[in-house]
Amino acid sequence: MSELQPIHERKHIWRDGILLIVALCIFVWLVYALDNSLKPTFNSTTLALTGVLLALVPAFIWLAFFYIQDSVEPEPKGYVFAVFLLGGLLAAAIGIPVVENLFRVSHWLYTNTLSAILGGILVVGFTQEFLKYAAVRYSIYNSAEYDEPTDGVTYATAAGLGYATMLNINFVISNGGVDLGAGMIRMAVVALAHASFSGITGYFLGRAKFESESIWWMPLGISLAAIFNGIFNWLLGIVTKPTISLSGASDNAWLGLVFAAAVALATTAAVLALTRRNIQALKTRQGE
């Protein structure tokens, strides 16, 4: 057991989360506007390379905010980056092969509403959320640097963004590149969604480390994140369902981004409120 230290609340983590959402939406709009006005032409190699670079943008924005603001309440940046990488590696080595090759979700997940929800939660949700949890639980969690309840949110978000980045890179490579505008929207949606669900797992990890929770505490956290993950993807499919009218077809990708940003803001606010309440309770107990 380590010594009892005063509890801090790394307030910049919440600012980073909200800034990520806002900055990502602005960046997507910029890419979309530039793509529409300049109409750049790419060959297959430069298209794939541009796609991969764009896939890195959401993580880069979050890490940039984190680095700038963390000077006040420092967290080892090497560890944050390592957890980000670990999230991406677990996605590439286990997550994507399990979901796409072992369970072959594209063959049956969209058969009907029930399969989209149940498969989305039980297969996609649990695989992804468990791996993001594992990226934190079996690396930094036992380190002395993991010394605040909010560290759970920080490291889980890093793992989630790493996972999302790898999903986006995989999407770009398997499609041989992406359309800049629509592709960037998709990548932003994936990054915001994974950062949000990881925030939930991070909150549960934060409390699991510093409080005596029941053995169901962490499974509950993973399950909640998996349920949110599955329901989010099902709702996203409904929101972005193409509309066909006399004037042509519209893919509704922007609605998807608005929906993802709203979910990310709501999740960040909920995790923030819960963590603050928890920290206040811990401070009160320490005062006693």
């Binding site: 057991m1 380590s2 009892l4 230290q5 005063p6 509890i7 369970f103 072959r104 594209s106 063959h107 049956w108 969209y110 058969t111 009907n112 399969s115 149940l118 498969g119 939660i121 039980l122 297969v123 949700g125 649990f126 695989t127 468990f130 949890y133 639980r137 969690y141 036992n142 002395a144 010394d147 605040e148 309840p149 699991a208 480390k209 510093f210 409080e211 005596s212 929770e213 029941s214 053995i215 169901w216 505490w217 962490m218 499974p219 993973i222 399950s223 998996a226 811990l282």
Partner: protein, 191 residues
């Protein structure tokens, strides 16, 4: 801050997380099987079978009596086809196989026979099996995809003056993964 790492409760909670995830994935796998194996009865011209649910049954031509396609599969859409062909009473399975091969060679690009042999299917019926491969230049409805390599298997049965040709065609990447499901379909066919 107080650090309670390494406690017995922590270790137990960790195992519980793994167990809950494994249970969820097992349930997900069972649900996947139930969705994939769901079928509805089909009957025409004395042939009955369990048609895969969720697949699109496309219009039949010539000797076809059943044709279903899984548009959710990636690349070339996995397709099952059942034909009933009237044959001479002294026709052998090899004669029918030659006719089927000639027909395929004329209709399909880069058609190659991989192997052919007499087999016994999963429910003990004698059949003549042909494995083949060809290139499909328009693997999906968009006509904007790269051509796919398609692998196929034709099971030829002879019964009561008719030849029944049951075909399975899938993208090369999906062929082995889709095979078990096709065998279940094959076993459901009664003629």
């Amino acid at each position: 801050m107080a650090n309670k790492q390494g406690s017995f409760g922590d270790r137990f909670a960790e195992i519980t997380v793994v167990l809950v995830t494994l249970i969820a994935l097992t349930l997900g796998g069972m649900y996947k099987s139930s969705v994939e194996n769901a079928s509805s009865p089909f009957e025409a011209l004395g042939v009955s079978l369990a048609a895969p649910k969720g697949w699109i049954q496309t219009s039949v031509r010539g000797n076809d009596i059943f044709r279903a396609t899984d548009f959710n599969s990636q690349g070339f859409s996995t397709t099952y086809n059942v034909q009933k062909i009237a044959v001479a009473s002294d026709a052998t399975a090899l004669d029918i196989a030659d006719a089927v091969l000639l027909d395929r060679a004329q209709a399909l690009d880069a058609f190659k026979v991989l192997d052919q042999s007499e087999v016994n299917d999963g429910v003990g019926r004698d059949a003549y099996l042909i494995h083949y491969v060809y290139v499909e230049s328009n693997p999906d409805a968009t006509h904007a995809s790269i051509p796919s390599i398609v692998r196929g298997a034709d099971f030829i049965y002879l019964k009561g003056g008719y030849a029944y040709v049951v075909s399975f065609q899938a993208d090369d990447k999906n062929y082995n993964l889709d095979l078990d499901r096709f065998y279940r379909f094959l076993e459901s066919i009664q003629f």
